[in-house]
């Protein structure tokens, strides 16, 4: 019984919805650290969140009360700073732009990278080994150092002050990391999968779409999550490549907002909250799917 049960825990999905949960809990070894460990984990979780909670709490107070009493409670709750930040801060526009650019960039980047990673993992050829090295070396390129040449490049294409230009730059910058992760995953898949499909007469593209991609879903999910956040939060490229305020993304809008409201702390906090909360909600909604697939795939 021990051996079969071990194989289950090594490869099985231990999500709470599993009917085996009761059996695992009662039968398996005690988790590391026991009660002390659990307490420590939760304490750190709370401590890690306090600054963010403070940010929210302070946004509900008036600026003068923030100066006179830094530790005061947010009562009575004031919404003035939110009204100010939203209307004068134009955050609705910025949010839409960020969404367009980030979703576009992540989609493009992941798509081309998945295709490339498949080829790199499955083709035996010196050219491809070199290509892979070229892609991976991109991980070591601090792209914001190339800001001027990128500006000139986009200028040549007529893509300055264009969200498309920004999307293309972001998509390109995500390629090394995505290929790095995806190639590893593709390599782990047994070659027999394709052999079986080829015998059935499928071509490369069909094999790719119908068999390989579903198998690397957790890796794709990882790549999406890890590219989405840095692209959403980048402020340097939109600053240089976008000129019209209505095209600004959230981080750029934030810096402009900070410039104007440098001492109006209450509105500042409200602006910070507005800039952060949508991403948190997005993340929570998305990771329900993503992390489930991730841990399931990883423990295989």
């Amino acid at each position: 019984m021990t051996i079969t049960a071990s194989t289950h825990t090594a490869t099985g999905d231990r999500e709470p919805s599993e009917p085996m949960k009761g059996r695992v809990k009662g039968r398996g070894p005690r988790p590391v650290g026991g009660l002390v460990g659990s307490t420590a984990l939760w304490i750190y979780a709370i401590v890690a969140l306090i600054p963010l909670l403070l940010m929210v709490a302070n946004s509900f107070r008036s600026t003068s009360s923030l100066y006179s009493d830094p530790l005061g409670a947010p009562w009575p709750i004031k919404f003035d700073s939110y009204r100010k930040a939203w209307t004068e801060g134009h955050f609705g526009e910025y949010f839409t732009n960020s969404l367009l650019v980030t979703v576009g960039a992540v989609t493009l980047s992941t798509t081309v990278s998945t295709m490339a990673a498949y080829a790199l993992a499955r083709t035996r050829s010196r050219i491809f080994t070199t290509l892979e090295a070229v892609f991976i070396s991109g991980l070591m390129l601090p792209i914001h150092l190339a800001i001027l040449p990128i500006f000139y490049l986009l200028d040549g294409f007529g893509l300055v002050d264009s969200r498309l230009g920004l999307t293309l730059v972001y998509a390109a910058s995500g390629v090394p990391f995505s290929i790095f992760v995806l190639t590893t995953f593709f390599r782990q898949l047994p070659p027999e999968l394709e052999e079986a499909a080829r015998i059935d007469g499928a071509n490369s593209w069909q094999m790719f779409v119908r068999i390989m991609v579903p198998m690397v879903r957790p890796a794709v999910a990882t790549v999406v999550v890890f590219r989405f956040v840095p692209i959403w939060n980048d402020f340097l490229f939109p600053l240089v490549l976008l000129r019209s305020r209505e095209k600004y993304t959230v981080p750029v809008g934030l810096t402009t907002f900070f410039g104007e409201y440098a001492t109006d702390w209450s509105s500042l906090f409200a602006g910070l909250v507005i800039a952060t909360v949508p991403l948190i909600i997005l993340f929570l909604v998305a990771t329900k799917q993503i992390v489930a697939g991730l841990t399931a795939g990883m423990s295989k």
């Binding site: 295709m115 007529g158 002050d161 900070f258």
Partner: protein, 431 residues
């Protein structure tokens, strides 16, 4: 095999289409920058770092449009800390400004060297202006004028009249009185001077406000720029030491206090004095309309070569015309208007800055006092005016140096020699 090929072709086509699309992406003004429209109707794009003054400038340019129908102005402001980066790309590529606010003195030189600005010697006549101010917009190498200076800033000590009244204090006229004011305030639990030493650029200004007479003010400028003396001069070192001696009267752990914190300390009444520039006035008034402020010149410290107090001044910001503008004539007209008294008066009234244009009258009593003080006892902001033409700049060196001094790591003599070593890398005295 057929469908295989087709799939591959689709992928390739999509990819190339993306790039092709990007390459011929429509840009309504394909290679122009800003100015669009036919010869009768022009929209000029004006860039600036004054995010705080957008409303004021829009009102000012509305006046221009009324007088010059057919010329509209689109005023855009970008955050100060990233403005240099944005301007560099703006002037180098397309879709940049027609008219741009540019930095002064040393910081203007790279822009000039990039050939991004048009010379304006034949467009405006600034012969009646303060020479130091005009210098701020000229090329160091060719001596040509590349921009019209916008504002004149003065440095002095702001003080809270209510707090002074509360402790029966009056603006000091001698150094002993100044020290007495500081001691009394500190004893009463009020921070005497609000200084945000975390932001090092405020520190050379502090040095000028507190101790310009101690190093010899204008006479010293003459000597150091012609090579007759250096920053190792004992008068200079003593002036830096004055700042050190006043450390107890700055906020606790001043190097941890940010510039914006210091502003708040003053406007909320927690600090009694604020050594700062005339550019603070509008902000202070908006932050706390009930604040009763005054300004005074800090008396000369003991041992100064001359006991006259001084008000430090320098030109701040100028407007130049982009060489890539396709509305050059209209742009030149605009900057020409910026050299008139009408524009200067509008700047004084709406933006609440001292205008670089001579002859402007100030309705705000404090602005008037600052302008008058400068007219009576002018001295240049030495490190900014003369020592920013290379790297490392004098202001950076002294700023970091004073931080180290306030932290107790170095003394006044050491940071003065550091300053001298730094600037001697590139500074050539004029004879």
């Amino acid at each position: 095999m057929n469908s295989n090929n087709r799939r591959h072709l689709t992928v390739l086509t999509l990819a190339s289409a993306m790039v092709a699309l990007a390459a011929c992406s429509p840009s309504s003004s394909s290679s122009s920058s800003g100015g669009s429209g036919d010869s009768k109707n022009v929209t000029l794009s004006v860039w600036s770092w004054r995010t705080e003054d957008v409303a004021a400038y829009n009102a000012i340019f509305a006046v221009y449009t009324k007088a010059h129908p057919g010329t509209k102005v689109d005023f855009k402001a970008f955050k100060n800390t990233e403005y240099n980066l944005i301007l560099t790309t703006g002037l180098a590529g397309s879709k940049g400004p027609d008219v741009a606010q540019v930095r002064s003195y040393g910081q203007l030189q790279p822009t000039i060297a990039s050939k991004s600005l048009l010379p304006l010697d034949d467009v405006v006549d600034l012969s009646s202006w303060d020479a130091n101010v005009v210098k701020s917009a000229k090329g160091k190498d060719d001596g040509k004028l590349y921009a019209v200076p916008l504002a004149q800033q003065t440095l002095q000590m702001f003080y809270n009249k209510d707090i002074f009244a509360k402790f029966a204090l009056t603006p000091p006229t001698t150094w002993a009185e100044f020290m007495a004011v500081n001691t009394k305030l500190k004893a009463q639990g009020v921070t005497p001077m609000a200084v945000g030493a975390k932001d090092s650029w405020t520190l050379p200004m502090l040095h000028q406000v507190l101790a310009a007479p101690r190093f010899g003010a204008g006479a010293f400028e003459e000597a150091v720029t012609t090579g007759k003396t250096t920053f190792a001069d004992p008068n200079w070192v003593a002036s830096v030491d004055v700042v050190n001696k006043l450390k107890p009267y700055l906020p606790d752990s001043a190097v941890g206090v940010a510039y914006t914190d210091a502003q708040i300390l003053f406007t909320s009444g927690k600090a009694a004095m604020f050594p700062g520039g005339s550019f603070e006035l509008g902000f202070f008034q908006k932050q706390n309309p009930g604040l009763k402020m005054g300004v005074f010149e800090v008396p000369a410290p003991q041992g100064s070569p001359s006991m006259r107090p001084t008000t430090t001044g320098y030109a701040d910001g100028a407007f130049g015309v982009s060489a890539k503008s396709d509305a050059q004539a209209a742009s030149k007209d605009l900057v020409k208007w910026m050299s008139t008294k009408e524009f200067g008066q509008l700047v004084a009234d709406k933006v609440k800055q001292l205008s670089a244009v001579p002859g402007v009258s100030y309705s705000d009593p404090l602005m008037k006092q600052m302008a008058d003080n400068y007219a009576k006892n002018p001295t240049p902001y030495l490190l900014l005016v003369d020592f920013r033409y290379g790297t490392p700049s004098g202001t950076d060196l002294l700023g970091t140096g004073v931080q180290e001094m306030l932290l107790g790591k170095k003394d006044a003599a050491k940071i003065s020699t550091d300053l001298q070593t730094g600037v001697s890398q590139w500074f050539k005295p004029t004879t």
